[in-house]
Amino acid sequence: MKSGAKILIEGLQREGVETIFGYPGGVVLPIYDELYNAPIRHILVRHEQAAAHAADGFARASGRVGVCLATSGPGACNLVTGIATAYMDSAPIVALTGQVPTNLLGNDAFQEADISGITMPITKHSYLVKDARELSRVVREAFYIARTGRPGPVLIDIPKDVSTNQVEDRPPEGPVTLRGYQPTVKGHARQIDRALALLEAAEKPVIYAGGGIIASGASGELLELAERFMIPVTTTLMGIGCIPCDHPLNLGMLGMHGTEYANFAITECDLLLAIGVRFDDRVTGKVSTFAPQARIIHIDVDPAEIGKNKPVDVPIVGDARAILQAMLHSAKKGGRENWIAKVQAWKKKHPLRFREDGKLRPQFIIRELSDLLKGEGIIVSEVGQNQMWTAQWYCFRRPRSWITSGGLGTMGYGFPAAMGAHFARPGETVFDIAGDGSFQMNIQELGTVAANKIPVKVAVLNNRFLGMVRQWQELFYDRRYSYTELPPVDFVKIAAAYGVDGIRIDSPDGVREALSAAIDSDGPFVLDFRIEREENVFPMVPAGAAINEMITGGRE
């Protein structure tokens, strides 16, 4: 006989869990008691939201399932933003929550919240476990569902008596079988042949690659296909890193803050090979003018994404890597020199740019960091201008080196996600590129990084504004800066109060030295960059416009 809590912990161990992020409370006391001696490291965060983001950052950096744990009611509710973030970006996490004892369920008991109901629209699946004998099966299924098919968050809600009850545990063996869940892996052979025929016939093809490439580990196959057919590749925010930034076929990011040449190429292409993407509105702009001349091949593991926003000519459901391998197996060589030359000319004529006039500008800081780390390391961002500048100016060379909240756009994501990324790949330098607004949304995690000596470096691009909203107000609301100005904060002093080192930087001269000091430090570090306050992110496609109608800002 074993307690439910013990069965849970053993189930986690069978799934290979080494680290979980959590926060204790009343109804999870039995689980915490079991954790006290378990060979699983528990990182105590300062707010449950950070536990969910850390699990998510761990998952994205490692490709494995991240785990977070919270108590019932407020603890569980604090996970919600993190679960929604993981859901929108297809990050595999398992969220464990305590629940009031089964005899009090539905009674409005102390710290009761219907967390499986609350999270129903933002989880891939959820369980409310009412019998401890179900726990081993549920844990195994939850991990299986989280990591397979289109990955995503799974919630397991565990009433207190289920944790304490002593039962006979019979862990299931063999592969997980769920008759309602059988994700497609292999692509349909005839569709693959049709796609290849279109690829071979196309004169102006473009690959539009997204997070699905990273999730399925298909970067190598993608590169091989692009090179064999000489196809330029543009990536979504989530797909950054699937092709090295300095590869001649790389067009960088497309969409609202994409490069001009990527958006031009999309608008002019005659064949769009879309892989692991979902035609999000931030990518397509006005969807009817997105790739208006192109036949579209769409490869995705989630059939519901195909044709959801844009009709496609050749749908292929399955794992991106398996499908690209099948395509490479029979693909001939191809080359379209005129098209490549045209794209290269756009690249030359319309590069990303910023003003270099001796003022401290964020793009310069990110370019310096990219130089210093040689594009290596794990770069996490918050949301807003900091995120877009990093996506544009950091030269990513590997998959899973860029971690950001794309779909939900969660401010406060970066810092805790960076903590998670550190535990996934402890040997690597991890930077969180933050704004002063975002950093203050989960700034309490300075306590976590200090206590656990987590060597995450935070580079705050401090402009004392909620910068991206201010930019929209400047461009579309007549510079009426309604509630977007933030009072000055001395982040170095805040860091010091937690026992974390920091440096304030006011001019471009100090940037390299400060970044090096942070990189060389073996603990956490905060860099407070006082940047130009009203710097904008350009190019920019106004909401609802066609993606080739970009505001490019001042040309230097």
């Binding site: 109901g117 129903m120 629209p121 409310l128 569902i145 309602g180 989630d302 044709g307």
Partner: protein, 167 residues
């Protein structure tokens, strides 16, 4: 925009109905009717869902339903030959001597059963397709419908074909 009839097999577990109905709310799909109950397999339930939308919307509904782990099978049986039934209970004002005979005559024509008789009212039970029930309801309104309750539509393929979990 036209009604589509979906026959859906789901795991017979707590929360399945709210997963399905929550999906419709969240994605902005319109349910015209939903009927659910046990079926020939003890651990499955069968839902008949009538959803209004164009073909692309209904395709999205089906794909999203299929993503639910507890949904085992979704079939759009709109274009198939099917047997469709609804059940209605209708409480009609019918005092002895004034109109009751006429109500009973209508019941007879529509092959409805009189399942309860009171001093001032009768309750009719009628089954059939929705147009038949609509027609009876309209005729009975002249007598005064005090209360009406209808189930959603349930449907089954004609012939030997079935909607079964794919294996």
């Amino acid at each position: 925009m036209k009604p589509h009839t979906l026959s859906v097999l789901v795991e017979n577990r707590p929360g399945v109905l709210s997963r399905v109905s929550g999906l419709f709310t969240r994605r902005g799909f319109n349910i015209e009717s939903l009927a659910v109950g046990t079926c020939e397999e003890p651990d499955l339930s069968r839902m008949t869902i009538v959803v209004i939308g164009d073909d692309a919307q209904v395709e999205q509904v089906i794909k999203q339903l299929n993503k639910l782990i507890d949904v085992v099978k979704v079939s759009d049986i709109t274009e198939n030959e099917t047997v469709d039934r609804e059940l209605a209970l209708i409480k009609v004002t019918a005092e002895a001597g004034s109109g009751r005979a006429e109500v009973m005559q209508l019941a007879d024509i529509f092959r409805a059963q009189i399942v309860d008789v009171g001093a001032k009212s009768v309750v009719l039970e009628v089954t059939g397709g929705s147009t038949k029930i609509d027609a009876l309801e309209n005729l009975l309104r002249q007598h005064g419908v005090k209360e009406l309750v209808r189930t959603g539509k349930i449907s089954m393929l004609r012939g030997a074909k079935t909607v079964k979990p794919s294996k």
